[in-house]
């Protein structure tokens, strides 16, 4: 690496020279994202690990329901160069499955379990990705999928408080809140001379 080269340029050269990158996105001088094919993820991650990005900061997923795809995001971190690298890859939503990166980053163990629990993505290679981690005895589709309706689930499962009295404005007086809002808008009008 020459001194004239910035950290993000160094990373871009490193990855793009060896792999076919579908899309490169430089988020800022400290963050860069590569969208790659599913087959390349593991070799890119091992390349990055040998180049100094020794820590897996985070692994999670995004549900792109209109494209019928999940996007798995690996964020790796270097303690010497201040660049976070995101490796993103798209999976088919119906049979979402990607091999575990456990041999490369052992810290992915719990992130993969979490991603499986909240999105239903399978991680073969991780011995206990199917065990429950955060949700206990979950009985519906994974909750962070976009087609899951949390309100419906909550109404079905947890009852709401029933109030005996109906707190409505019965005598037709202007409520305090409305009066306050009117006062504020009047004050605004005075301040701006009637203009918006």
């Amino acid at each position: 690496m020459t001194n004239s080269m910035s950290n993000t340029e160094f990373v871009t050269n490193l990855v793009e020279n060896q792999y076919k990158v579908l899309k490169t996105e430089v988020l800022d001088q400290y963050q860069i994202a590569f969208e790659v094919k599913k087959e390349d993820v593991h070799s890119i991650l091992s390349l990055l690990k040998t180049s100094g990005w020794i820590q897996l900061s985070y692994l999670s997923a995004v549900d792109w329901i209109k494209d019928n795809e999940f996007e798995v995001v690996y964020i790796v971190f270097n303690w010497d160069k201040a660049v976070h690298i995101q490796i993103r890859t798209r999976l088919d939503r119906e049979s979402a499955s990607i091999n575990s990166v456990l041999p490369i980053y052992p810290g992915c163990k719990y992130y993969e379990r979490e991603a499986h629990e909240f999105f239903g993505i399978k991680f073969p290679g991780n011995p206990d990705y199917e065990k429950q981690l955060i949700l206990e005895n979950w009985d519906d589709i994974p909750p962070l999928r976009k087609d899951f309706d949390p309100r419906q689930y909550s109404d079905k499962k947890f009852s709401h408080m029933e109030y005996k009295n109906d707190f409505v404005n019965k005598d037709g007086k202007v409520s305090k809140q409305e009066a306050r809002e009117k006062r504020f808008s009047d004050a605004d009008k005075l301040r701006t001379g009637g203009k918006k």
Partner: protein, 189 residues
């Protein structure tokens, strides 16, 4: 002629007297168990330290459920924490009281449509005092504790008796929400 100085009391009367004496000492020396998984817990540091000085009411923190009188539930409870809360509540020695903080324990608060958070705490454990607000300010927290003391004085803090009497109802609610109350923890099995 019967002595006017001593008239024998029935057993119920004697019990009631002893409970009144016990309640007097209990309400002036409440030990709290703080189940601080919600954000309302941030109201406890000013309430306990020199700003509002909870100790002038005779309240102090206790580390274990078996030695505590009051269970403070500060805010929202997910299903996972509710399971632990029920364990904790059932471990406490009687009489025991529960104070629910914030609107989350009353009707779900801002988490009313969440898949993970329960809406009504008093369906699962009996709650004696609710402190409303999101979050309640420290004055209302202190006021809630004084309310609890008044309830104990007036023999209205009967949540723990209710838990005995309507145990089936509470257990059915717990089962409906949790499926199974028993904790399966991979790190301890």
């Amino acid at each position: 002629m019967l002595s006017t100085k001593f008239s024998p009391m029935s057993k119920e009367e004697v019990d009631r007297k002893w409970w009144e004496i016990g309640d007097f000492f209990r309400r002036n020396s409440l030990w709290m168990l703080m189940y601080c998984t919600g954000c309302c817990a941030i109201e406890l540091p000013p309430a306990m330290t020199s700003a509002y000085d909870m100790e002038r009411l005779g309240m102090g923190p206790m580390a274990t459920p078996r030695q505590a009188d009051v269970l403070l539930v500060t805010g929202y409870l997910s299903l996972k924490t509710l399971r632990r809360l029920i364990y904790t509540y059932e471990q406490m020695s009687e009489p025991k009281y529960v104070v629910g903080f914030g609107s989350c324990t009353i009707n779900g608060g801002i988490y009313h449509d969440s898949h993970a958070v329960i809406n009504q705490l008093n369906k699962y454990v009996p709650v004696d005092v609710f402190v409303a607000g999101c979050m309640p300010n420290t004055e209302s927290v202190m006021n809630g504790f004084i309310d609890l003391m008044d309830l104990i004085k007036n023999k209205k803090a009967n949540g723990w008796k209710d838990y005995h009497e309507r145990n089936d109802w509470y257990k059915a609610n717990q089962k409906a929400a949790l499926g199974e109350v028993k904790i399966h923890d991979e790190f301890h099995e």
